[in-house]
Symmetry: C2
Subunit: 272 residues, 2 copies
């Protein structure tokens, strides 16, 4: 049963382990300019990418409960690791629409590939979970998926080294084996990675299609809101409230500037 | 008042945000071969280096309480960030000897310098706290301290890239400005960094003295145990129990191998 229409003015609740999920917020604002957004970054426990399924699921439940208290009308898990490890549990546990970033990215990759060879990059936990691989095979069993865990990219992005020579060298090391295997499509399986788009595009060249799961997630959220009669109409809203579980404002401002996002309000709230 | 002698067979409780503090354990085992050790790595919330004083202090209190439940006779904070941000609170809060890694490193640096120019490298939180700078000035007000936050080193160490060309280039970028300023002593202000000793020594050359706070901390712990009548005598013990707050065994095994540490028992225990 769809939720009541009068909740349509409530915000979309978006969360990530840290600040990286703002790339999803930027895509949501572009596709859904009428929606208010509340974003939680779990900066007290960032990063999730090297942690276990049990721990990431527990953290994701705590954050989702917090978003419910903020009257979120739906939840977007703007974190590939949490989408990969916690989505099924969250969907069973909470009575509102919840969307992750894996399925939209996987679907877009299957649509984009011409030679059936797709590369996926992400955190160690995302890649180990095989979530992208399994979702892609579900859409298209004959596709060949090559994946690579890229644990150094998140720290480099958080330092703001989006176009640094060291970032380029590390990216080359991660990407070249997949390029040699002939991928024609590359999924950015971590919400930090769109900030490296310029360097990645330069390395993979014009014949490999880049799939940005943030962008595809925003389009999927648009359909989900419509289907559940939850879309907000009227004047465009740019309300974006950011709640962090610890002070970590440096990277917040770097990312907001790079993504041209305007934050309406910042709150810090310890989880305990 | 010293604690009772009969607690001398209890373990030394050592903690770190993650696995890096095993460098302190290796030094303790070398200097104090009679002591049992219990080590807690807060891998569910690692790293501490970019987090706030309030958060790091709260985490450190939770871990110390856990070590007390494990009958630790004293606490060694084998984490520069927690030593810099949480030591005064822990010392006020708990009725047993607690030792951090900052003071021993600062003291050793003051003894080592010939030209009065000391470099300190550490996490962003450690460097921002000014804990090394203030401690060094307390020992010797005329020394000039240059410090540099090196946030990319911990991720590189956790990937096991101890001698990689990329690690060398990042280290050069962090160290060269301090070398140009004429430092003759460099403090490794993070427990991960001793694993980079070989590369760092190569970059700084033979005229700069390297101060490893792990090594100096072990010597300070030796005095503290003797002063409090807590030293264990008898047959050498190599009991080392490791308790992690999340599964993260990859780096545990890399570090244990690199440091030639033998772990007797590993337990995983969620904090909640």
């Amino acid at each position: 049963m769809p939720l009541q229409d009068d909740t349509s003015h409530h915000p979309i609740g978006v969360f990530d382990s840290g600040i990286g999920g703002l790339t999803v917020v930027a895509a949501l604002q572009k596709h859904l300019p009428h929606e208010n957004i509340i974003y939680i970054g779990d900066t007290a426990r960032v990063p999730y990418g090297g942690k276990s399924q049990a721990t990431v699921t527990r953290y994701s439940q705590e954050i989702t409960t917090l978003l419910l208290a903020e009257k979120a009308k739906m939840i977007v898990i703007a974190c590939n690791t949490a989408s990969a490890l916690a989505l099924p549990t969250l969907t069973n546990f909470y009575p509102l629409p919840i969307h992750g970033v894996i399925e939209p990215g996987a679907f877009a990759a299957v649509k984009a590939t011409r030679n059936g060879r797709i590369g996926v990059i992400g955190t160690r936990a995302t890649i180990t979970s095989q979530a992208y691989q399994e979702t892609i095979y579900r859409f298209s069993p004959n596709v060949h998926v090559l994946s690579s865990a890229c644990p150094l990219l998140v720290p480099l992005v958080e330092e703001g080294l989006f176009e640094d020579d060291i970032t380029r060298r590390i990216l080359e090391r991660y990407l070249e084996p997949m390029l040699l295997e002939g991928i024609d499509t590359l999924v950015l399986g971590c919400t930090h990675y769109p900030l490296l788009k310029k360097l990645i595009t330069h390395i993979i060249g014009p014949y490999v299609t880049l799939v940005d799961s943030a962008e595809n997630c925003a389009m999927a959220v648009e359909s989900l809101l419509a289907k559940n009669h939850l879309a907000r109409h009227g004047t465009p809203s740019t309300d974006l409230e950011v709640l962090l579980t610890d002070t970590s404002e440096d990277f917040l401002h770097i990312a907001a500037r790079a993504l041209q996002i305007k934050i309406t309000k910042i709150r810090i709230s310890s989880l305990e």
